[in-house]
Symmetry: C2
Subunit: 472 residues, 2 copies
């Protein structure tokens, strides 16, 4: 059934125009059934429900958010992991699974160029990877007994985090969780390409230190979610080394693209960060959930989370992953990542990721050449642009921008509901943008041609409808 | 292959005597391979590695920790979820999966008797369920702008948490993560059955309030990990209502046993908690990972974690689960729980959980009747006892206890390594105890007879060896 589902997917819609009411009627709102059901019927009906009422990120014309098509070997990996049910919280509970997770982490570090000795932990996804990094940095920055007395213990100084507004919302959640509150974020301005202003960062750190505050963490981004922008990492690395502030790079989207030989130097410098979050369930095509936190000095994770000294088994130090993060019992999410790394190797990922970038660049050139589309940005595998009716092409006033924002918002909604292709949006300099992100090994140029056709078709229709509405 | 693995499991060992060195040699320590591998060979070798080098919690003689045998329908559920790859972070990304998760949460609340309107979220497991509850209680207790200014914002009072020493280590991690530090825990004494002293709790809350501190959370346990003890929940519920302090019940192990009609009243009172953590990957036999947090007033989770107002789709309020906890992208772990609830229904779980409890009680009577075993505790499906050589049976001195601690520790280690059966340990009143916990629908009385034989056999051998050693 699953093989058939995967094979037929490209013929069907990417998305269904789902109504909450109708879906709830389908599932029912009855109480927990008292008696059981026939297993085969249950599985078939569950599969049908999912096959008919999901947003299909495995579809070749899915370009939404940063959600990838799942690699079939990862799906089989999850099946195998679930059947064996290894609990990768402690070595004794899962000897071989723990060793495979350790190897996976070493390989991920190698893939992006981090130094030998880098460690880390696999987690549910980017949010938790980033939160765990922030907690490790918090512990490392405190020279009082933070784990015993809290962020406000005797001798505590106010802790400060530095980031631009382009950082994903995880950061607000992380400082809140950590007890620091959103006010602990010192917002650093960006240039016109959404990149951190390093001079302003240097001043901010100096200024806060002079006030008696304690700079604990700089958060840079290697591929922002909205436009794929990469902060000027070499300069930020230098500054963090000089000032002794922990540098965390959120590379959840773009980090793994550092493996591509002609990746920009700004991206490759992520290898020098103190910690790096990458998401195998994004650009390594793992099915959900698989996030990863890589830490240059892995004992920093132990300092922040362990309650026991390192564990030895038959004289060998072994890893208990519950010492490295929030979880105690842990599933074997490493398996799907490890299998995929072995199935295609480094060369395979260089090609797959490189293909997504090339397709995205090709899309950008098509957009540039199209007289009804206006290109905004092209970074990594994200292209942003908008539909502009021919007669508005040369208009540059606020009313036109407002009209185009409305038009593109409605066009996005219609195109999503059509099921022909799925893109999400960004806001670039106040302008509403269409934003295909390609982390999809099923996509071809033909799919992108179809995407442009779909978007232009809906653009024309919405434009007509809006003009007719305003003429009424 | 997986069906065959499951069918043959009972014939093989529960556990292998794994050496880190040997395992590492098997996996290799080479760099990330540059080129790929044949998929079929890769999958077969990965399966062999796991089938030959894991601790098998699906084995009928696995009684370690609180790790259950995975239900086959849950394994298939994970396979299906992974293939469709629904991202249950937001309704638009996963319409049907989000609705199924909501129904699963309603059904879990019904199963344990929580009131209509209870909400919650599925998470990776007990640690995160409990941490999320603590963060929600922290937000609810603060009358200053905690999310903006942190635990130490203007107008803040020191926040206090109440719990006994029997609470699982998650609590230390949670208060540390939350920025409160371990000192924020006010440790409440227990009675001789490891249950919270409610009088002492009342005094502690009053005392701290008088000092100007803010009691934010009482943590009670419904089934401690070591002995399955249940705190006197009815009295704690009353006290928390009276004092206005949030009551969180950690029911990760024992919570779902509240569905059994003749469950003790102390357990059933968990339905009146403000929040309850239960672990479907424990006693609902879901494969890892599946934890659940149930919250009587679900908007408390939104208050603590959301950055947006409630979301409407076609005029209907729908749930975006990223507003309810730490994660942003989220896998569809609800599917395996939902499928199992439907496969066996409430009646099925009442029988399966009831069977585990009856088997454990039967084991306790066998232990009691055995002249080389000494019973310590029996609660829910955990029995604790130790091996005592016949000639030491009536000795009650410190030297004997020290000897028996050594003996039982070595006996446990040998029995685990033998692969004949797997139990873990507890410490009960300073005495080292063997601690079979039965959350295993494969287990029969015959397996428990075999367990007793194994433990007694190793007990005799270790006793002989220890006496020979001390005679040398």
């Amino acid at each position: 059934m699953l093989a058939d589902f995967m094979a037929r997917l490209p013929e069907g819609p990417v998305n269904r125009d789902e109504q909450p009411e109708a879906l709830r009627a389908l599932i029912g709102d009855g109480p927990l059934p008292d008696s059981g059901s026939d297993t085969a019927i249950l599985l078939e009906s569950a599969a049908s429900l999912l096959f008919e009422h999901s947003l299909f990120n495995a579809h070749p014309r899915f370009f939404g958010y940063v959600t990838s098509s799942p690699a079939p070997i990862g799906v089989l990996g999850d099946f195998l992991a679930s059947a064996v049910n290894a609990n990768v919280g402690a070595w004794r509970l899962s000897p071989v699974a723990t060793e495979i997770e350790s190897q996976t982490i070493r390989w991920l570090a190698e893939l992006v160029g981090m130094p030998h000795g880098t460690g880390g932990v696999l987690v549910s996804g980017g949010n938790v990877a980033n939160i765990v990094a922030l907690l490790a940095a918090r512990r490392a920055a405190a020279d009082w007994d933070l784990r015993k007395t809290g962020v406000n213990g005797a001798g505590a100084s106010p802790l400060r985090v530095y980031a631009t507004q382009e950082v994903h919302t995880w950061l607000q959640k992380a400082v809140d969780v950590a007890g620091l509150g959103a006010d602990s974020i010192h917002v650093i301005p960006t240039d016109e390409q959404q990149r951190m202003d390093t001079g302003a960062l240097a001043q901010a750190i100096e200024h806060d230190r002079a006030k008696g505050e304690r700079p604990m963490l700089v958060v840079a981004t290697a591929g922002t979610v909205s436009t794929g922008a990469i902060d000027p990492l070499p300069a930020i690395v230098d500054l963090c080394r000089k000032t002794g502030v922990w540098l965390h790079v959120d590379g959840c989207y773009g980090g793994v693209a550092a493996c591509v030989p002609d990746a920009p130097a700004d991206l490759k410098a992520l290898a020098q960060a103190d910690s790096l979050a990458i998401d195998p369930h994004k650009w390594l095509y793992a099915p959900l959930e698989a996030g990863a936190l890589l830490v240059r000095e892995p004992e920093r994770l132990r300092d922040a989370f362990a309650y026991h000294p390192p564990y030895y088994h038959f004289g060998q130090e072994v890893t208990n992953y519950f010492d490295f993060g929030l979880q105690n019992s842990r599933g074997f999410r490493a398996l799907k990542v490890w299998l995929a790394l072995r199935q295609v190797g480094r060369a395979g990922y260089v090609k797959l990721i490189g293909d997504d970038i090339r397709l995205s660049q090709w899309l950008a050139t098509q957009v540039e050449a199209h007289d009804e589309l206006e290109l905004f940005t092209r970074n990594l595998s994200i292209t942003t642009f908008r539909y502009v009716p021919r007669d508005l092409r040369d208009k540059r006033d606020a009313d036109t921008d407002a009209y185009l924002n409305t038009l593109n918002q409605e066009l996005l909604d219609r195109s999503q509901r059509s099921g022909e292709a799925f893109v999400s949006n960004a806001v670039v300099g106040g302008r509403y943008a269409l934003r295909p992100c390609i982390v999809n090994f099923h996509t071809t140029e033909a799919d992108l041609r179809a995407l442009i056709e779909t978007l232009v078709k809906h653009g024309r229709q919405v434009d007509q409808a809006l003009r007719a509405r305003s003429a009424d």
